[in-house]
Amino acid sequence: MTLYELLIQPFADYGFMRRALVASLALSLGSAPIGTLLVLRRMSLMGDAMAHALLPGVALGFLFGGFSLAAMSLGGFAAAVAVALAAGFVTRATKQREDASFAAFYLIALALGVLLISTHGSSVDLIHLLFGTILAVDDPALLLMAAVTSVTLILLALLYRPLVVECVDPGFLRNMGGHGALIHGLFLVLTVANLGAGFQALGTLMAVGLMMLPATAARFWAAQVWSLALAAILIAMLSGLVGLLLSYHLQWPSGPAIVLVAGAIYLLSLAFGPREGLVWRVLHRHSHKAA
């Protein structure tokens, strides 16, 4: 098989492959920076929680509107934001910490979602909602992804300093009158929006994968916030590309293929990444700089 046949032809020949690629690139651009910030803020599992929190909203949207993009997206978005607000409120009003309150509410939301689907829909619908397929992305879904990505990038660029300060020295932000709670809330909303856009293509389970795995791998390549985000974006895009090619050549289901490629890149980064990769640490155990 020539290189062309291996890498280019699948996309040249099939519209659905091109769309899937564009969709995964769009998702990468928006989700990866968010994932980077989640990792830096030690909220890595939060992404997973928010993805599950989407479910009852998506279920309700589905029950009322079928596979309608608008219904499911709005529903999912509303549900996840509700969970975030509830958890945030509990964290501020009581002694409960953020991770515990999030865990409580997202689990409630998840069970509610499964219950709704099981009693009013069918288990098939549940599987499709949980897994989705990037091969079926249509124009409205692509537009949604593009819109969410654009808004995300613009907001991240605008709010870069407050976001970073809110992570590293929230006290300073507060003293500057910087509306830390608002920033935090806005960040969560962006996270939910990206997960919402992603779940149409990859399902709730896999959308988190594309958000978090590249971000966790990036730290073995970069040291600053902006370069971490960039590395994460590139890794995510690469995962999309290679995952789709694997799905094409080896007949693997597309969603899991993409996320597993991201996982493989993570493992490779862990071992060989230029920053604290395990292999280098073992090799350089006995050497240090001159000064």
Binding site: S122, I127, T133, L135, A136, D138, S247, Q251
Partner: protein, 296 residues
């Protein structure tokens, strides 16, 4: 009165009255899925009460039993399943419910199609097999509710006749379509028996069950196949992802031919809420698509 004497008196009464209990209360039958339930209702009439574990528009491949299902089984007089590996969950459910009554396999004695070394369970997609199912169910009901033997017999005969008539009308409608043009695309390969019965080729995007997620390879192959034929139609089932089918149709230039019902009836009051209606609907939908394909 102690237990053994009570039992003796009861069996005497039963013997003399000839299943008096069954006459007072309809036979409680639990069918594994909606199609079997419909068959049972048609031949059993008022002497039985049927419920289905996997209802309309639901997928038996991914059914997850609930406590209510176990209770229904425990109270049943008869349980009917499809067999051929269709209900992967039934053994566990029977054990869990403690049901010890008769379990009838509707496809007993059938020679199934084999796909990749395993039997294809969707035998009801052939009317000839459907008639075998009906005969099996008739025999089972006869054993358990012999008082209504006459009614059972007449209802069964009538139903079998209707199945026969349907089959003949389908073949007649298909006649003008040359064998070479009989090709159809679906999302899930549940129509093997239908395909074999009427000489139509069914090509599927996914594997045999809905559990498998589509790979880019299978979608690409499907699109290739569609393009190389002359305007065939793509069918969406009531238990698959319509978005994927829509995408395939759009890219390949095929038409969305309509819905096919593979593993379940549709909701009551809709177009495929009985076995006869389901089969007729499927056949008409396919024939319509083939006729259009032929015409262009």
């Amino acid at each position: 009165m102690n237990c053994s004497r009570r039992a003796a008196i009861a069996s005497m009464l039963a013997g003399s009255a000839g299943f008096g209990r069954a006459q007072r209360r309809p036979l409680q039958v639990v069918a594994s899925f909606s199609i079997l339930a419909d068959l049972l209702r048609n031949i059993g009439g008022t002497s039985i009460e049927v419920t289905a574990l996997v209802g309309p528009d639901a997928d038996a491949h991914m059914f997850e039993p609930r406590p209510a299902d176990a209770r229904r089984l425990a109270d049943a007089d008869l349980v009917v399943v499809n067999g051929l590996g269709f209900e992967g969950w039934i053994d566990r459910l029977v054990r869990a419910s403690g049901y010890r009554g008769p379990l009838i396999v509707a496809s007993a004695g059938l020679q199934p199609r084999m796909v990749n070394g395993a039997p294809d369970p969707h035998a009801w997609q052939s009317l000839a097999c459907g008639r075998d199912y009906v005969r099996n169910l008739h025999d089972a009901l006869l054993r358990l509710a012999p008082t209504d033997a006459a009614g059972l017999q007449s209802r069964t005969t009538q139903y079998l006749a209707r199945l026969q008539t349907l089959d003949q009308s389908i073949r007649k409608a298909l006649d003008p379509v040359p064998k070479a043009r009989r090709r159809v695309i679906t999302s899930h390969n549940a129509f093997g028996y239908f395909a074999a019965a009427y000489g139509i080729e069914f090509i599927a995007a996914q594997g045999r069950s809905t559990e498998s997620e589509a790979s880019a390879a299978s979608v690409a192959r499907l699109i290739d196949q569609i393009r190389s034929q002359k305007a065939p139609a793509v069918f969406v089932e009531n238990i698959s992802d319509p978005r994927l089918m829509a995408r395939i149709a759009k890219e390949s230039g095929a038409k969305l031919g309509g819905r096919l019902y593979s593993d379940a009836l549709s909701a009551p009051g809709t177009e495929a809420d009985s076995y006869l209606k389901l089969f007729a609907h499927n056949a008409n939908t396919v024939i319509a698509a083939l006729q259009t394909a032929q015409a262009s």
